[in-house]
C-alpha cells in the first residue's frame, strides 16, 4: 500500500500534469467547484421560477426540472457527449461535456432546495413585504432570497459533496479525473486492484466526509443562531 502511494501519488493527484493535461484529484475538485459555481445562479433562477405566480413561467420550468430529476446523470452526460458538438458546431472535449451535464443536473436539484427554502420562509414574509409596497420581484430579492440563501449554506455544502461524487461519472467518457486515473494505475500495477480501489475510496471518503461534517456543523450553528435571535 505504502509503496503504491509512494510511486503514484503525484499521478493520482494531478494526472500527467505538467507534462500533459491536468487530471486526477485536482481535476475532480476543479470540475466540482466549477460545476456548483455555474449551477448555483441557474438553480436560483429555476427555483424562483418554480414558485412564480405566473403559470407561463412556472410550468415549463417545473416540467424541465421534473425531467432532469427523473433521468440518471449518466443519461444527461451521454446526451451532452453526443449532441453538444452538433449544437455548438464544434468539438467539445470531455471536460466541457462533463461540466455542462453537471451544471444542468445540479441546477435542477438546487432549484428544488431553493424552492423548499422559499416556501419554508412562508407567506407571512412575502405578504408583509408586499404590504409595505414592494413589488413581487423586489420582495423576493430583498426579503425572501437573502434569508433563503443564508439558511441554504449547509445544503450547498452537501450539494458540493454530491457534485464531487457525480464527477466520477466522467470516467465513463474518458475524462481523466481521479477514478479514471485510479483505473490507469490499476492497469499498470495489475496485481493489486483491491488496494488501488480502496485508496480511491479512502480519498473520496476523506474529502466528502470532511465536507459533510462541515455541513452538519454549519447547520447546528445556524440553528443556534436563529434560536438565540428568537429569544433576544
Amino acid at each position: 500500500m505504502i509503496e503504491l502511494i509512494d510511486t503514484y501519488w503525484l499521478y493520482f493527484l494531478v494526472g500527467q500534469y505538467p507534462h500533459g493535461p491536468l487530471g486526477g484529484l485536482a481535476l475532480t475538485l476543479i470540475l466540482a467547484v466549477l460545476g456548483l459555481l455555474f449551477a448555483f445562479p441557474l438553480g436560483l433562477v429555476f427555483g424562483i421560477a418554480r414558485v412564480s405566480p405566473w403559470r407561463s413561467v412556472r410550468w415549463p420550468v417545473t416540467a424541465l426540472i421534473q425531467v432532469v430529476r427523473g433521468t440518471p446523470l449518466l443519461m444527461v452526460v451521454f446526451w451532452a457527449y453526443f449532441f453538444l458538438p452538433s449544437l455548438t458546431g464544434q468539438n467539445t472535449d470531455q471536460f466541457w461535456t462533463m461540466l455542462t451535464a453537471l451544471v444542468v443536473f445540479d441546477a435542477a436539484y438546487l432549484a428544488e432546495i431553493i424552492r423548499a427554502g422559499i416556501q419554508g420562509i412562508g407567506k407571512g414574509q412575502t405578504e408583509s413585504a408586499r404590504s409595505l409596497g414592494f413589488s413581487y420581484l423586489d420582495a423576493m430579492r430583498l426579503v425572501i432570497l437573502p434569508q433563503v440563501v443564508r439558511n441554504m449554506l449547509p445544503s450547498l455544502v452537501n450539494q458540493f459533496v454530491a457534485t464531487i461524487k457525480e464527477t466520477s461519472l466522467g470516467y465513463i467518457i474518458g475524462l481523466t479525473e481521479v477514478s479514471f486515473i485510479a483505473t490507469q494505475i490499476n492497469t499498470q500495477v495489475l496485481t493489486r486492484p483491491a488496494e488501488v480501489y480502496l485508496l480511491l475510496g479512502l480519498t473520496y471518503f476523506i474529502l466528502c466526509f470532511g465536507l459533510s461534517r462541515l455541513a452538519f456543523w454549519l447547520e447546528r450553528h445556524l440553528q443556534q443562531r436563529t434560536m438565540a435571535k428568537a429569544h433576544a
Binding site: 421534473q66 425531467v67 430529476r69 427523473g70 433521468t71 440518471p72 446523470l73 449518466l74 443519461m75 451521454f78 446526451w79 453526443f82 449532441f83 459533496v161 464531487i164 461524487k165 457525480e166 466520477s168 461519472l169 470516467y171 465513463i172 477514478s179 485510479a182 483505473t183 490499476n186 493489486r192 486492484p193 483491491a194 488496494e195 488501488v196 480501489y197 480502496l198 480511491l200 475510496g201 473520496y204 471518503f205 474529502l207 466528502c208 466526509f209 459533510s212
Partner: protein, 232 residues
C-alpha cells in the same frame, strides 16, 4: 434514404430486442437490490438506535463510509478489487457465473441500504419516546413495543423517503454500465455503436428512465394520500 427518426428501429428487430433486454436487466437490478437493501437498512437503523455505544458507532461508520464514496468507486472496487481478496476456488466459481451483475448488486445494495437506513432511523426518531413508554407501561416487551407501536407509525413517515431512494436506485443502476452489466444504458450505447443512430437509442433509454421515474414518483404521491401520517 434513412428517416430522421427511425421509430421502427425501436419497435422491432434485433436492436429493439437488445434495448428491451437492457430494460429488463435494469428493472431486475432495481428489484433485487431493493429487496436486499430494505431489510439491511432496517437492521442498520436499529443498530444505530441501540443503547450500546459500540454498536451505534459501527452503524455510523458503516453508513458514512458508504455514503461518502461515489457509487462508481464502489462498483470498481466490487468488480475489480474484491474478487482478488477471495479464495481462488470461490473466485473461479464466481467468474464462471455473472460476476458483473453480482458486483453491481452488492454495490447497489450497500449504497442504497446506507441511505435508506438514515430514512428509517429518522422515521423512528420522529415517533415521540412517550409512545414507546406507553407501550412498555401496558406490558409490551421492547420488541413488541417496536413492532406494534413504534415501527407502524415510523413506516408511515418513512415510506415516502424510501420511495424516493428507490427512484435514486433506479437511476443509479445506469452506472453499472461501467463494469459491463448489460443494463439499459449499456444496451443503448451498444445499439448506438452498431447503428450510429445515437438519437433513437438514447431517446429509448431516456423515455424508459423517465417513465419509470414518473411511476415511482406517482407511487409516493399515492401512498401519502392513502396512508396519511396521523398524530394525536
Amino acid at each position: 434514404m434513412t428517416p430522421i427518426f427511425d421509430l421502427n428501429l425501436l419497435l422491432t428487430g434485433t436492436y429493439h430486442d437488445w434495448l428491451v433486454a437492457g430494460l429488463i436487466t435494469s428493472l431486475s437490478l432495481t428489484g433485487i437490490s431493493l429487496a436486499l437493501a430494505l431489510p439491511l437498512a432496517i437492521v442498520i437503523a436499529l443498530i444505530r438506535l441501540s443503547p450500546v455505544k459500540l454498536l451505534q458507532w459501527s452503524g455510523f461508520a458503516f453508513v458514512e463510509a458508504i455514503r461518502n464514496v461515489p457509487l462508481l468507486a464502489h462498483l470498481l472496487f466490487w468488480y475489480f478489487g474484491a474478487p482478488e481478496l477471495l479464495p481462488t476456488a470461490l473466485r473461479e466459481w464466481l467468474y464462471a457465473r455473472n460476476v458483473e451483475a453480482t458486483s453491481a448488486i452488492i454495490a447497489l445494495t450497500l449504497y442504497t441500504a446506507a441511505y435508506m437506513s438514515e430514512d428509517v432511523r429518522s422515521g423512528i426518531r420522529s415517533i415521540p419516546g412517550q409512545q414507546f413508554e406507553a407501550a412498555r407501561a401496558l406490558g409490551f416487551s421492547f420488541v413488541a413495543s417496536m413492532r406494534l407501536v413504534v415501527l407502524p407509525q415510523a413506516l408511515r413517515v418513512t415510506i415516502p423517503p424510501l420511495i424516493s431512494q428507490t427512484l435514486n436506485l433506479w437511476k443509479d443502476t445506469s452506472i453499472a454500465t461501467v463494469i459491463g452489466v448489460a443494463e439499459l444504458m449499456y444496451q443503448a450505447a451498444k445499439v448506438e455503436s452498431a447503428t450510429f443512430r445515437s438519437f433513437e437509442a438514447f431517446a429509448f433509454a431516456s423515455v424508459c428512465y423517465l417513465g419509470m421515474s414518473l411511476l415511482i414518483t406517482g407511487a409516493a404521491g399515492w401512498y401519502q394520500g392513502r396512508f396519511p401520517v396521523r398524530t394525536a
